[in-house]
């Protein structure tokens, strides 16, 4: 007796890919909902840095060359981007944990394209980065940083989301390279260096020696300038596009490295 043929409905590839990305983002959200405490360090660290730096270095605005008299306004985008860096790097730590527990292996034998798996991880990190960003932004407004305008706020949050994606690519690359959570300090400190080796504490003209040179070539300088513009002046396209370009370049390079490592891992 012949078995009845089961009609199969071909799901378009793009829809399957979207479903996979959505499932991975849901998994990341579930982790957060089930263990809310896990989000605390990612929120606390940039908040402490924001409050601490403001209390300690607030007098720097007295130096000639500062475009604003409010250090809160000057430093808040840095803390938000720092939060994005921590959150993105944490995505790398989680990926390393998943590798150690064997979950990544199971993921890699699925028919989902590698870039879809990476996109799920990266987009989840971008979404998660909104938690510390909103928290720090609210604290800054309460302390008198001044509202950056709708356009300034949108640009700032877009920069934060994209920076978290960059950090998640970096974290994923290291997680798959070292296949161990012990690479976590490298993920965190790498992102911290990238964000702070910029005009984070003072305008570029006031930076000393080597830091000025590094900040001038560090692409994240453009990201910080773009995110900061609404807080210290008005929003312009001239201050925005270099940030977008820098983020696109970083995503391309670090995303490419992460993808290559994922393919190597699968082999």
């Amino acid at each position: 007796m012949e078995a009845a043929a089961v009609p199969t409905v071909a799901v378009p590839a793009w829809r399957a890919n979207l479903a996979t990305i959505g499932a991975m983002m849901t998994r990341a959200r579930n982790e957060l909902v089930r263990v809310p405490g896990a989000a605390i360090p990612g929120v606390l660290a940039p908040t402490i840095f924001f409050l601490g730096l403001n209390g300690v270095f607030g007098a720097l605005t007295q130096l000639s060359g500062f475009s604003t008299g409010s250090y809160e306004a000057f430093i808040v985008p840095v803390s938000m981007l720092q939060g994005a860096g921590f959150t993105g790097a944490a995505a790398g730590v989680n990926l390393a944990r998943d590798y150690e527990s064997g979950w990544v292996d199971r993921l890699l034998v699925s028919p989902a394209p590698r870039w879809v798996i990476l996109a799920g991880t990266v987009l989840a990190a971008s979404a998660r980065a909104m938690i510390p960003a909103v928290f720090v932004f609210t604290i800054a407004l309460l302390l008198g940083a001044g509202f950056p305008g709708v356009d300034g706020m949108v640009i700032c949050f877009a920069m934060v989301a994209a920076m978290a994606a960059v950090a998640a690519c970096w974290g994923s690359f290291l997680a798959l390279r070292f296949k161990s959570q012990s690479a976590a300090p490298l993920m965190q400190s790498g992102m911290m260096a990238l964000v702070l080796l910029t005009p984070a504490y003072a305008p570029i003209a006031l930076l000393q020696g080597w830091l000025r040179t590094v900040a001038e070539v560090n692409p994240v300088t453009h990201v910080i300038e773009a995110a900061r513009q609404g807080f210290v002046a008005s929003v312009t396209w001239a201050d925005t596009w270099p940030g977008l370009l820098a983020l696109a370049g970083l995503l391309l390079v670090l995303g490419g490295l992460a993808l290559r490592e994922m393919r190597r891992t699968a082999q």
Binding site: P41, L44, A45, I48, F49, L51, G52, L53, N54, G55, V56, F57, G58, A59, L60, Q62, L63, G65, Y71, S182, A184, P185, L186, S189, M192, A193, L196, L197, P199, A200, Y201, A202, L206, L207, Q208, G209, W210, L211, R212
Partner: protein
């Protein structure tokens, strides 16, 4: 062999174990040395113009001013890491095995603290070397450098006592690790990174009474000005106070752990 010599050997052996443990695992040494070094470099370059602010104490450079802050950061992180390592030992059952050994209980804590103190000494040497390499002068000369190293080492021992007490009380590495943000708060609310007179309220007032500020000034003076008896005594008294508090809390936590089983 006298009991004193025997106990000293136990403390030395456990101390060596904790030092080896730290240096064998890059993830343990990295936060203690790399993180403060990175922040020192960034803050020196980023906020270096601060020396021109009216009210800033006379210093050769901002790097010279910041060396004490970097050492403080390293020793606080060393204390935290020592606590984490002790909590890991508790979680893995190593401490229970030590409890059943014919050694005094205080040697278990002192052994861990010896490792933390060694890390403090290493950190002080590291940052003084960095300062000298990048042109910072130690105004107090060799004696001043030795004084700064001694204060940082003993302060690491004292702060490590608090970390050990929390580890013994909770027995959880993640709880001790969770104190990391608190370490940052205590640091920011002290004079580690900026002169107290130039800080913004409420950080300014809190820094004035923060015990860590007394230790910072004790370490900083020999570097930026020369040995000052008043600052040194205040730092020594503060370190002694923190050490006594750490020992008291550790003793209580140890008794609680042994009672609870």
């Amino acid at each position: 062999m006298s009991a004193l010599v025997l106990n000293a050997r136990v403390v030395a052996a456990l101390g060596m174990r904790s030092i080896r443990q730290t240096f064998r695992r890059p993830q343990l040494i990295a936060p203690i040395i790399v993180f403060p070094t990175l922040l020192l470099a960034i803050q020196t370059g980023g906020a270096g113009g601060a020396v021109e602010l009216p009210g800033f104490p006379p210093v050769q450079s901002f790097l010279q001013f910041m060396l004490a802050g970097a050492m403080m950061q390293a020793l606080m992180l060393a204390g935290n890491s020592g606590g984490i390592a002790l909590a890991v030992d508790i979680e893995m059952g190593f401490t229970d095995r030590l409890f059943t050994a014919p050694i005094p209980r205080f040697a278990i804590v002192l052994g861990r603290l010896a490792g933390t103190a060694a890390l403090g000494l290493f950190a002080s040497c590291w940052f003084l070397a960095i300062g000298l390499i990048f042109g910072a002068e130690i105004e107090g000369g060799v004696l001043g450098a030795l004084l700064a190293m001694a204060l940082v080492t003993t302060a690491a021992l004292a702060v490590g006592g608090i970390g050990a007490a929390i580890a013994l009380r909770t027995g959880s590495a993640s709880v001790v690790q969770g104190l990391f943000p608190l370490v940052l708060v205590v640091l920011f609310l002290s004079t580690a990174f900026f002169p107290q007179e130039l800080m913004i309220e409420p950080a300014k007032t809190i820094a004035e009474y923060n015990p860590l500020s007394f230790v910072v000034e004790g370490v900083r003076e020999p570097i930026i000005a020369g040995i000052n008896a008043g600052d040194t005594l205040a730092a020594v008294a503060t370190i002694a106070g923190i050490f006594a508090l750490g020992l008291l809390l550790s003793d209580r936590a140890l008794r609680h752990r042994l009672r609870a089983g």
